[in-house]
Symmetry: C2
């Protein structure tokens, strides 16, 4: 195996996650998101395909910038309704043995004492297969409903996040010593209280004097994901994250971000191999190239224009309803827009992008690349991205659920396995060991031991 | 069937829930609480025994009054470690079809917008089998770790709880109309945005302008449990709860509380049959009476004196470490103590209770009665309690898990079924319909339609 590639399925506890409108395709089953059987089947499928993990996104607000209203988002189920992702995990964990679960969870509206308990519980119940995708929320529509007048300023959010993590590290890593819990029925001692410590945290934002409510879980700290794209976000990721989730339309664009991230991690004294970078990737696979392109054309016909722009308007903060579908971007005299959509239009900088083309781009696969082709071609492109962009793995997004994943497992995974690029069998151990190697069960970001002084 | 009796198993995501020390008994498996298989097996067992529900308690702090420290609680695993109960549900729900899940969840440290989403998610995933046991937290040790200097005053807690529930009702019952979600693939309309409403809540404690993040779940509002024992708590329960969980050592004592509760509910204009009262009950069953008493003697030998007093001190706020084990209560000149433990000593008012006897009483079954006998005798006692105390059901506590539940399912349930007192088959429908009758799927406490004005 040259460079091992890691695979996550990218999903969310909602309908039609990254492809507004495609829920209406006859084959799409994502509207079954309320059905546990749907998730259990998905988890089993991914484990059959030797996926490393299932990565679940989350949002706590609705996209209400487009037309100044949430109506299009509601009509097209654009990440609304959006159910809690944590509550899916135990059913899927019980039906699988190796699949990891990366759960997006905002720290903005939660106390670290509570969040630490939730993830410790899941880490126990999954036998150490849980990851936390650390998010500080960005939607005003969420903030308003959660007791804040508006979003906390961006940089403050990271300052709060730093302290939040500090509290979590103390609870997870330092409060209960490794040999605190004895379970000694003979001596009638469950745990040695001398080895359970108060963390005595007193900071700017949080006060947590006590001990963690949970005994040490298999990984203690869950594997930490982060997805910050801003400069401050990348610095945060370089310090804390063990896995980083990035997105961009071309390998060349993603490459720059990855390079910067790896440099920042190095500045933090971290080894390059202790940071895995994932990028989003939407494959449209056919048994032949022709079949794949036919599929793609059909899929495009299901994109909801309003739904796609609802998503794009929410992401950029710009209300795209003010433009005509056939208006080209170059005639819109707004630098704000040009730069806001640059991340998409860079996919083809020579093209004269219309609003409709932008909607179509966003409408399948969001920010990331859509790769259409035979299984061989998809595998080629994956190899190309790994080499060109220096990423370690992919969050594979679906156009149709679970069909896209079925195709990928059936057609692409065997080719990647034959090329020695992805695993044929799971490694034993926790999620962290599966990602970073046997014996590497403790936090790899260098934060262990830094947190509790004296 | 004369009066149908409802059965819950009473448990918590921890070791040795209500019986400090008994975790060390060779047959007890409650230390497997981190193992999903343990919970899935339990859920299947309860469904086999046609239990109505599994009721999960929770605490967010540790018992640290005894000896002014948490050491005894940690050593004897007295409800610490304590993992999150919500995260157990989906695995158990996927392995069962009818069992209800009553989950204790404190509103003190959570925003209603988030909590409403968690319960809607679970109500979807369980096909309408979830109940919320509404708790406002009471332990200082929890408050301190969650950003509060100390507990909020008792009556303020209920005022906050009132408004919290008001917000939840609006989100659950009024935000999405019944026919808002169409899932119409032909017309490409997932939901009709005109039928999704902002709740515009602006109160003393919460501001929640927006709409609920989740589409209507099978029950919308989960079945509401409450367990308030104070006068204010009972008033709250009489207004909001559909099921009330009470506890007391004798049927005569429980009777008074039930009577008061039913009167208060009537004052609120509620029908008596819309409120089910459960009481805690710890059976120790043998194939003969003699075998049961032998079992009881053995179990008593596993009680942890320090563990039991740790629990009792936490509950009463009185540090019982200052007394000698053989000191009798009548020689302790403190009215505070006499009245704090009255609820226990009333079980046998003529006895000269020592501290050790009090510990033994608490050490098996907590506040409730421990009933020792053959299966017939247990069934007789259950009938007696229903008739004497006017309760509708029982939270059956274990001494050994899952052994106590195995005994109960194998030996007691068939007798209760033969007598026509408990169900032989589950009724179809949601948890609320199973409890209150077919077609009674909406909130029975009269709060629907009161919440959003105009």
């Amino acid at each position: 195996m040259s460079k091992r590639i890691y695979l996550n399925a990218f999903d969310m506890n909602c309908v039609g996650h990254q492809s507004p409108g495609l829920w209406s395709h006859p084959e799409d089953q994502s509207e079954r998101y309320n059905d546990l059987g749907y998730w259990v089947e998905l988890a089993k499928l991914l484990e059959k395909g030797k996926f490393d993990g299932l990565f679940l996104a989350d949002v706590l607000g609705v996209y209400d910038v487009y037309n100044g209203s949430r109506d299009s988002a509601v009509e097209q189920a654009v990440q609304v309704p959006a159910n809690d992702p944590l509550l899916l995990v135990s059913a899927m964990a019980h039906a699988t043995k190796h699949l990891g679960f990366g759960i997006t969870y905002s720290l903005t509206y939660e106390q670290p004492y509570m969040l630490a308990r939730r993830f410790s519980t899941l880490d126990h119940l999954t036998d150490g297969r849980v990851a936390w995708n650390i998010v500080s929320s960005y939607l005003d529509s969420a903030a308003k409903n959660l007791g804040l007048k508006q979003q906390i300023e961006h940089d403050d959010r990271y300052e709060i996040a730093e302290e939040f993590l500090d509290v979590c590290y103390k609870l997870w890593e330092e409060s209960w010593e490794d040999d605190a819990v004895l379970r000694d029925k003979e001596k009638k001692v469950f745990a040695n209280p001398k080895k359970v410590h108060d963390i005595n945290h007193k900071g700017k934002y949080f006060e947590v004097p006590g001990a963690h409510l949970c005994e040490p879980s298999p990984q203690r700290t869950p594997v930490l994901y982060q997805a910050g794209a801003s400069s401050r976000g990348r610095a945060f990721a370089a310090k804390h994250a063990e896995c980083v989730f990035t997105a961009g339309p071309t390998a060349e664009i993603v490459k720059k971000g990855v390079k910067d991230l790896r440099e920042k991690a190095k500045e933090q004294g971290r080894s390059p191999e202790d940071l895995l970078v994932f990028t989003v990737f939407t494959p449209i696979v056919g048994r032949t190239e022709e079949e794949a392109y036919q599929k793609y054309e059909t899929l495009k016909s299901y994109i909801s224009y309003d739904g796609a722009l609802s998503l794009l308007s929410g992401w950029t903060g710009i209300d795209f309803s003010q433009y005509e579908p056939d208006q080209t971007l170059e005639y819109i005299e707004s630098n704000a827009i040009q730069s806001a959509v640059e991340v998409f239009t860079k996919a083809d900088p020579n093209k004269k992008w219309t609003i409709r083309e932008l909607a179509t781009f966003v409408g399948i696969g969001g920010r990331g690349p859509v790769i259409v082709g035979s299984a061989e071609q998809i595998a080629d492109e994956i190899e190309y991205w790994v080499n060109e962009a220096d990423v370690d793995g992919f969050n594979i997004a679906y156009t149709l659920a679970p069909g896209s994943f079925e195709d990928f497992v059936e057609l692409v995974v065997p080719i990647l396995q034959d090329r020695g690029l992805v695993q044929k069998e799971y490694q034993e151990g926790t999620y962290r060991e599966k990602l970073f190697g046997s014996g590497k069960n403790r936090l790899t970001n260098g934060q262990v031991g830094l947190t509790v002084q004296g």
